[in-house]
Amino acid sequence: MNKEKNSYIFTYSAVMVILVAIALTLANIFLTPAQQANILVEQQWQILKSVGKALDADEQPNKVNYIRGMYEKYIVESFAVNSEGQKLEGKDAIKIDLKAEQKKPLEQRELPVFVYKGDNGESKVIVPIRGNGLWGPVWGYVALEADYNTICGAVFDHEGETPGLGAEINTPEFQKRFVGKKIFEGETFTSVRLIKGGADPSNQHGVDAISGGTLTSNGLDAALSNSLSPYQAFFKSQMKK
């Protein structure tokens, strides 16, 4: 048979590509449940880390069970609200896809909220953030005190920011800067800004941006204000209670 005939080449490549596609589809079908379970645990861990829990999960013999247990114990409630601050029924907050939500018009968005209750009965509320850094998405969780205004912890992560520069957003040193900052000035939503050249320590709404990571800092700044501002109505309604 002539292997260099066009008809042979076309048939050969078509058959090969179809076989490869079938193999990859099968692999995907069988591996997806395990992958999603991993992503879920990762999310739960980030939520716990934003309130300073489960920081030692890496040293635990069974990390996955440890995180699940801690999540069950401390995250007492999770629900979704809309931009008017009303609770939406029957939503699983942790399964909400933020990327898809952010493409919707504001009034149709489902905004996840996680409620933490500590050992001494103190409660905190945790909301997710998401946006674009320099090379890819950045995301994280911001935990607020019971006044719905003061940040008590934050975690951020990224897909592929520049190591040593933008990638520093996932270090505890950077995340510590957010503790104690406020997202409201009186009744007005201010978000927390990342300030290039350093924030004045007396500034309640600003933290130091990352030197050399300006574009990542800008992205995170936008992610914070875009993701937190839809919650305004909800936070304000809770403050009055």
Binding site: Y8, I9, M16, V20, A23, A27, N28, Q35, N38, E159
Partner: protein, 216 residues
Amino acid sequence: MSQKESLFSAKNMKLLTGPLDRENPVTIQILGICSALAVTAQLKPALVMAISVTVVTAFSNLIISMMRNGIPNRIRIIVQLVVVAALVILVDQILRAYVYDVSKKLSVFVGLIITNCIIMGRLEAFALGNKPWPSFLDGLGNGMGYGLILVIIAFFREIFGSGTLLGMRIIPESLYISNGGFYANNGFMILPPAALIIVGCIIWFQKSRNKDLQEK
């Protein structure tokens, strides 16, 4: 030759062990350097990368060798790419499902296995002209040769850069300056250029030990 060659004949074993030393893809053929810099700051990602690359080179060599009589010459590079890409996607999916932490650390580098010169190099140079079993051994050998260098680099980088091995502490905390000792980690070891210097040292060591490898 009608006589069947045994599976582990001296010739076949040479395919497996050659790349570990005299024909090492990294230090002698200078292939796959980029990923050797990227994933060797710690031992664990380096090990996973080494295993992943070994699996991909071995099986892509095997598959291409089995297909070699049917592959139309004009599209052979495309066929090779499809096979390699499919295997890499499989490896990536498996890592995501079973070693999620590591897959997060390796992130883009797993996808970049596709562009690792060692794989295409072995397919073109060996698998297209040899039977499946020797090709499989050749792929395995080259993957391990690459992995060996990765592990050596990562060993030095992790122990001097972080004072740990596989995440376990080797240099006692009490020796550190912050705890009243005299020792500090070498921050340079964390950065990619440190890997280049270690590769250089390995080549130096290897060539001074084995005079045949020295260029005249």
